[in-house]
Amino acid sequence: MLSRLTLVFAVLTLVAALTTSAGAQVADPAKWAEIQKAALIEGELNVTGPPSPPLRAALSAAFKARHGITLNYFGETTGAIMARIDSEFKAGKLSIDAHIGGMSTCWVFAARGQLLDMNGKLVDPELLKPGVWRLGAPKLNELSATGTGPNDPKCAFQFTEWVFTFLFENPSVIKTPITAWNDLLKPEFKDKIVSFDVRSSGPGETPVAYLGKVMGDAYTKTLYVGQNVKLSTDSRQLAEWVARGEYPLGIGLVPFAVEIYRKQGLPIAAVNVNDGFGGAPLTGGFGAVMLFKNTPHPNAAQVFANWIGTKEAQEIYETNMMETSLRTDVNTGAAVPDYVRVNPNVKYAVDDYVYSYYIGERSAHINALKQELPR
């Protein structure tokens, strides 16, 4: 009896998981044509996103060419974007129509009641063809703890998923391969490790949460405090330190900074640790689009949200941001380093972009270490 109940529960869970991915997206050519027509009348839209000039230039040009709508892309730090949007929203004068960014940002916007439900927003038939997406359908992330069911409200359309390989080494300095997380605790690495500052928002948090889950909070304390890990909030500086060997090990380095040095043949390489959890967490990076309420160009924003999921836009995004697309037909080859690509043969136990993990376990591990660092 118990095993039958378990089986029923498992089937229901599987169905729920599948329908979560599918969401409430239905191809609607007539509606899609209508929205495009209205968007063309609006003529433009304002989008905020990661501060990448090449991404801005490429997206703006391609969107204009495809839909005839001017895309005003404004790249700033996430903090500045959040402050601006919050101020504008409270004053009832929102100028931003859509935002490209991470789920942490999305959940803050959602908690403030500033986002539209993404359910039903993807109507371009091309996006909803079978086989287009790795997960079977466009991935819509949960809005909050309300639920992950198909009819529960959705925060954003996540179009990328990649492996956040966070440990890098200078192979000309590190002669003995690092095969286990405990290797980082060896005395010879004291004062030799740098990390993105975990006390700031950014890529320093994810490794701490992952290592906390895999190795325990005592391990992260021993690593960061005991090994006297140097902290910085400058991604380029961190990558340069490792490439020059000033600090031969780096935690929380991001691909776009690492590749600047790696492409020039400098000694900086990803470290893969086989820990049974995948070696690194999955993330979506900046690869999610969200739509705001009460915007000046709602139709153009919806057209953009659909267009960003197309093969054309995904190739632009993947090339410039080094974050692999969730589309099956996008492969930009060497533009994206191997260490961020999802290995189908590896089971990744941690996904940063699951709300319950992000809010619960992830925060707990990060806060546990923050308590041990100077505040």
Partner: protein
């Protein structure tokens, strides 16, 4: 402003700038209201934002970093008085002593102040990093040197970069006009009475110029609390926190913790306001009119062979503080990878092509020039008007205006920016005029630079003897005519300096304008920030070279134009 055809009155009735009582009252209240709205309103918002239960406890008692940051900030800000003294000495040598190459050296020091600080800092890291710094590598080849003698990641490193690239040059920029306005006949009289050069300097020159030095030192002290890039790059890795980097950290959180940043700012603000009040009390004791009605003399001192040594020392200073950073900036913009000379084919124009082909570049360049010129011209006129009211009128509330003019520097640019955003969004009339337009950027830059603008122009106006203005009034000129025809031309060197400083600030500013710029009003500095944030330092260096070129050209023209009226002193 009073009408220019105001009938002449006896000079004895004209102690104040404007004398008609009701009009005076109206003008005073109007000026007070406008200055208060522009300066106090954002600050009040910051103070209100900081007033939350337990917030101050969390910010100051619970946070060891915040306490350390405040201590380090004040420690590092102590460079300002020393830089003021050194800057004053250099400016005095360049202007009052016949030194070979003085004009070039002075212009070079102006230029030093204009070079973007990020590539300068990276260049010094390249030289003085304890691991791979070129000078350290060189030093280690010496037989008696076993470890790296220099460490750029230290308090000394931060001070070195700041003093060379900013603190001393800016003092030369702001103090040189005051020295130019000094009638050398004062010194000549002292010498004729038998005083030796040092005695003349100590007993005549220094006291007369004390207000300008004091203002420059205070402005430098306050401003140095806000410097950010150098401290973040050089201090953070070795746990040297300062007030400005803490503010950056707090507003960079997702979501930004503005309340904590505002609490930290409010603490500093109260401290700075105490200094401002003390400064006001001290400065009103000075009587330092040096521009009199009998004409001015400007004969430079003649030194013997020592002038060559002084010149050589100043050329060395220019080489270290300007030539090297400029070289690194220019070379860095043409490198595949900033600072890496050993990779295959290290030079490339790819980053120039990337920046110049960026569709936003032309618009950002145009926007920057409009904002910088608008803020420069508008700022100088507004600051001069306020300074004249504070110093030469008997308007009610002028002392308050004087204090209010310090306020914009009492909070960091990023908090000033967010406060102005809130104000503009909340007031429909302001929103309609300013929001999303270049006008909002001009407005915030004019407000942000008000402290140095008003207070340095005040020191210049204070050097003009009242008898000159009274003579104009006796001859029938009204207050406005006297101000425009007599005062402004006499303080022209200072106006030019302030114009250039505001122009540069507008061209370089990121933190103050970031919240007010829209997709349509992005500037070169914001474009540079985008390149830097995406780890493309070489692209940022390209914009740095372009920005520096514009600034040098503008500074050259402005100085040439501004100094014409005084001849080549």
């Amino acid at each position: 402003m009073a009408a220019s055809d105001e009938p002449a009155r006896p000079a004895t009735e004209h102690r104040g700038w404007v004398s008609t009582r009701p009009f005076q009252l109206f003008l005073g209240l109007l000026t007070l209201t406008l200055v208060a709205a522009a300066t106090a309103a954002p600050v009040v918002l910051v103070v209100i934002g900081s007033l939350q239960a337990n917030l101050w406890h969390a910010v100051f008692i619970d946070s060891a970093i915040n306490r350390a940051a405040i201590a380090y900030s004040f420690l590092l800000a102590l460079r300002a008085p020393f830089a003021a003294i050194i800057g004053f000495l250099i400016a005095w040598l360049l202007i009052r002593v016949r030194i070979p190459g003085s004009r070039f050296i002075e212009f070079a020091l102006w230029t030093t102040f204009f070079v973007p600080v990020l590539p300068v800092t990276l260049s010094w890291i390249l030289l003085l990093s304890p691991t791979y710094g070129l000078l350290n590598q060189l030093a280690k080849t010496l037989p008696f040197v076993t470890s790296a003698p220099f460490n750029i990641y230290s308090v000394a490193g931060i001070l070195w970069v700041q003093v060379l690239s900013s603190s001393i040059p800016v003092m030369v920029v702001v103090l040189a006009p005051a020295i130019r306005q000094l009638d050398s006949s004062f010194e000549e009289v002292a010498r004729m009475c038998g005083a030796k050069p040092f005695t003349v300097f100590r007993l005549v020159t220094l006291p007369i110029l004390a207000p300008a030095i004091l203002t420059g030192a205070l402005a430098g002290f306050i401003k140095s609390l806000e410097t950010f890039e150098v401290e973040r790059l050089l201090g953070q890795p070795v746990n040297i926190w300062v007030y400005s980097t803490r503010i950056y950290d707090l507003v960079s959180l997702e979501p930004p913790n503005f309340q904590a940043a505002m609490s930290l700012s409010t603490f500093i603000m109260f401290f700075l306001m105490l200094i401002a009040v003390a400064y006001q009390r001290i400065s009103i004791r000075f009587d330092y009119a040096t521009i009199l009605g009998r004409g001015a003399s400007s004969q430079p001192l003649r030194l013997g062979r020592s002038r060559y040594f002084i010149s050589a020392a100043l050329f060395l200073l220019v080489a270290v503080s300007l030539a090297f950073p400029l070289f690194m900036l220019a070379v860095g913009s043409c490198m595949k990878l900033f600072g890496f000379f050993t990779i295959p084919s290290p030079l490339s124009l790819g980053h120039w092509a990337e920046v110049l082909n960026d569709p936003l570049f032309a618009k950002a360049l145009r926007n920057s020039l409009i904002v910088a010129t608008g803020a420069g011209i508008g700022g100088v006129l507004i600051y001069a008007g306020i300074a004249q009211i504070v110093l030469r009128s008997s308007l009610p509330g002028r002392r308050i205006i004087d204090l209010l003019a310090w306020l914009p520097w009492s909070i960091p640019g990023i908090l000033l920016g967010i406060s102005m955003l809130w104000i503009i969004l909340t007031v429909p009339a302001l929103s309609a005029i300013f929001y999303g337009s270049l006008l909002s950027l001009i407005l915030i830059i004019v407000i942000a630079q008000m402290p140095i603008g008003v207070h340095m122009i005040k020191t210049s106006i204070g050097q003009i003897s009242r008898e000159l203005e009274q003579s104009a009034r006796v001859c029938g000129a009204g207050s406005f005519t006297t101000f425009v025809r007599i005062v402004l031309p006499l303080i022209r060197p200072m106006l030019v300096s302030i114009f250039v400083i505001v122009f540069i600030s507008a061209l370089r500013d990121i933190s103050t304008i970031i919240f007010l710029a829209s997709g349509d009003s992005q500037t070169l500095s914001l474009l540079m920030m985008q390149f830097a944030l995406s780890s493309n330092l070489e692209g940022a260096a390209v914009i740095g070279v372009i920005t520096t070129s514009i600034i040098v050209a503008v500074a050259f023209v402005a100085r040439h134009f501004g100094l014409q009226v005084f001849g080549q002193r």
